[in-house]
């Protein structure tokens, strides 16, 4: 058995890309659909923006096939802000991913929020210079994506609902899966790898270190500063906010409040100040009352 950890055997490109993910810890990444929104996000203190044509709530409302955004729209956002710009490609859409890389986006989100292009396989992310972030609902899914080369993991939640319950469930599931590996004797790890559907070397690393080898962020359903703080309390190292900002009453105030709430997630009296009088959050959809086929977190193989 090899004594070095899986992550110690990775290329310098992979390490540098994980390094960028490290730089994005402790902050908020916001979905934006144009340059004006990107500026609002950056002025509020967002550490990065996700450029996409429609926020998830509108993708749900609009229906049809959701695809990579128009390059022009992404380029306008790249010109508008100095913080990192991320963009989404469909699951398994190698060509969209190549185009985003050619445009110099700083992170590609191979995202379940868009309609999958491949119903069996994800992009081989090792073939790229640009880093990828991928969603997960549990440890097996996280380690499959990391095994494909993802430099950042985000729990999926249920995007575009403003209901945090799925984000909570996925984060709790992931961390409980990790804890159970920690207490696992070595002879059980191969069977655990089989059950998780995850690469053995990554299972071995997680059982030794007690954490993922890449940063672990949260997404899908954050609508209030308290939701964002809750995700950090549960173990998220940063928070993605999709529809939560620009589907609310007052995006400027809410964006800033969510940034502040992540910074002071452990200070309830400050969270009270931060949350006071920031207008109505997005209306949202109660996930438990939602038809199963409308849920998108199940996309990902």
């Amino acid at each position: 058995m090899n004594e070095t950890l899986w992550s110690e055997r990775q290329t310098t490109t992979w390490r540098r890309n994980v390094g960028l993910a490290e730089m994005l810890k402790g902050g908020v990444i916001m979905d934006v659909t144009d340059a004006a929104q990107a500026k609002i996000a950056a002025d509020a203190g967002a550490q990065a923006v996700m450029a996409l044509e429609r926020v998830p709530a509108d993708i749900r409302a609009h229906g049809g096939v959701a695809r990579m955004s128009d390059p022009r729209m992404i380029e306008e956002i790249q010109k508008a802000v100095t913080i990192p710009v991320m963009a989404k490609c469909r699951i398994g859409h190698v060509v969209e991913a190549r185009m985003l890389e050619a445009m110099g986006v700083d992170f590609i989100d191979e995202s379940e929020v868009l309609t999958p292009a491949d119903d069996a396989y994800h992009v081989d992310k090792y073939g790229f210079k640009v880093p990828f972030v991928c969603g997960c609902r549990n440890l097996g899914e996280a380690l499959r994506r990391i095994g494909e080369g993802a430099a950042m993991i985000r729990t999926k939640g249920e995007a575009g609902t403003g209901d945090v319950v799925e984000a909570v469930r996925h984060m709790r599931t992931l961390l409980s899966d990790i804890r159970s590996l920690r207490n696992c004797p070595p002879e059980e790890l191969m069977t655990r790898a089989k059950e998780l559907g995850a690469p053995y070397d990554l299972v071995l690393e997680v059982s030794r270190t007690g954490k993922l080898p890449v940063p672990n962020f949260s997404a899908g359903g954050v609508a209030t500063p308290a939701d964002a703080a809750l995700m950090v309390y549960l173990g998220a190292e940063a928070v993605f906010v999709g529809s939560g900002v620009f589907k609310s009453d007052n995006p400027e105030l809410r964006a800033r409040a969510i940034v502040d709430a992540v910074a002071y997630h452990d200070d309830p009296s400050r969270l009270v100040e931060i949350s006071r009088g920031i207008g109505e959050p997005m209306t949202g959809i109660n996930v438990s009352a939602m038809p199963h086929e409308d849920r998108i977190a199940g996309r990902g193989w």
Binding site: R16, L20, G45, D106, V259
Partner: protein
């Protein structure tokens, strides 16, 4: 044990805390002005300089940190931290702490696909031999001018990448991401002379 604070709003502050603790320092997160009390040194980590600067200003840390640096508290700024320390930021009217007399250009090497690794010549102390140090440059800034008395401790293709003036040490790369702790050791030496 020497107490060192790390500005912990955003960025890879956790990595700095880990390295400092490994070297035996008592490393603490700093997010409130009162947490500056009793520190022998302060680290401003990598991350997004606009975000860190904004939060420091919003939560009343910018002035107190500027003051303690001016009073001589040793400070280490890596990447975004160097931008925060700089007296002048190119193509920007913004200055955050402005305590270090350098001019700096943000994202000077391009986007993430242009990020790179380089081996740098670095001399730990005046008598020591030059030993290469691994430099991880991530959306890195470039120091484009040095004021009087700012020393270059390491350079890359003629650009200073480690500079020091008295109590201030600034780098455009990320020593906290590699296993090489010499920069942090040098900094701890400044904190407990």
């Amino acid at each position: 044990m020497v107490a060192v604070g790390v500005i912990a709003f955003q960025g890879d502050f956790q990595r700095h805390l880990e390295v400092l603790r490994r070297l035996g320092a008592e490393a603490r997160s700093v997010r409130r002005p009162e947490e500056l009390e009793g520190l022998a040194g302060l680290v401003i980590p990598g991350g997004e300089s606009t975000t860190i600067g904004l939060l420091m200003e919003r939560f009343g840390l910018l002035h107190p940190v500027r003051n303690v640096i001016r009073e001589g508290l040793p400070v280490l700024g890596t990447c975004a931290g160097a931008i925060l320390l700089a007296r002048e930021i190119e193509e920007s009217s913004q200055v955050h702490l402005g305590t270090l007399d350098i001019r700096i250009r943000r994202n000077a090497y391009g986007r993430q696909i242009d990020s790179f690794d380089a081996s740098l010549s670095f001399t730990e102390d005046e008598d020591g031999a030059e030993q290469p140090i691994p430099g991880v440059f991530i959306r890195a800034p470039r120091i484009t001018a040095l004021g009087a008395g700012v020393l270059t401790l390491a350079a890359l293709n003629g650009d200073p990448v480690v500079v020091r003036k008295e109590n201030q040490l600034a780098l455009t790369f990320h020593p906290e991401l590699t296993g090489d702790a010499r920069i942090h050791r040098l900094f701890l030496g400044m904190c407990a002379p």
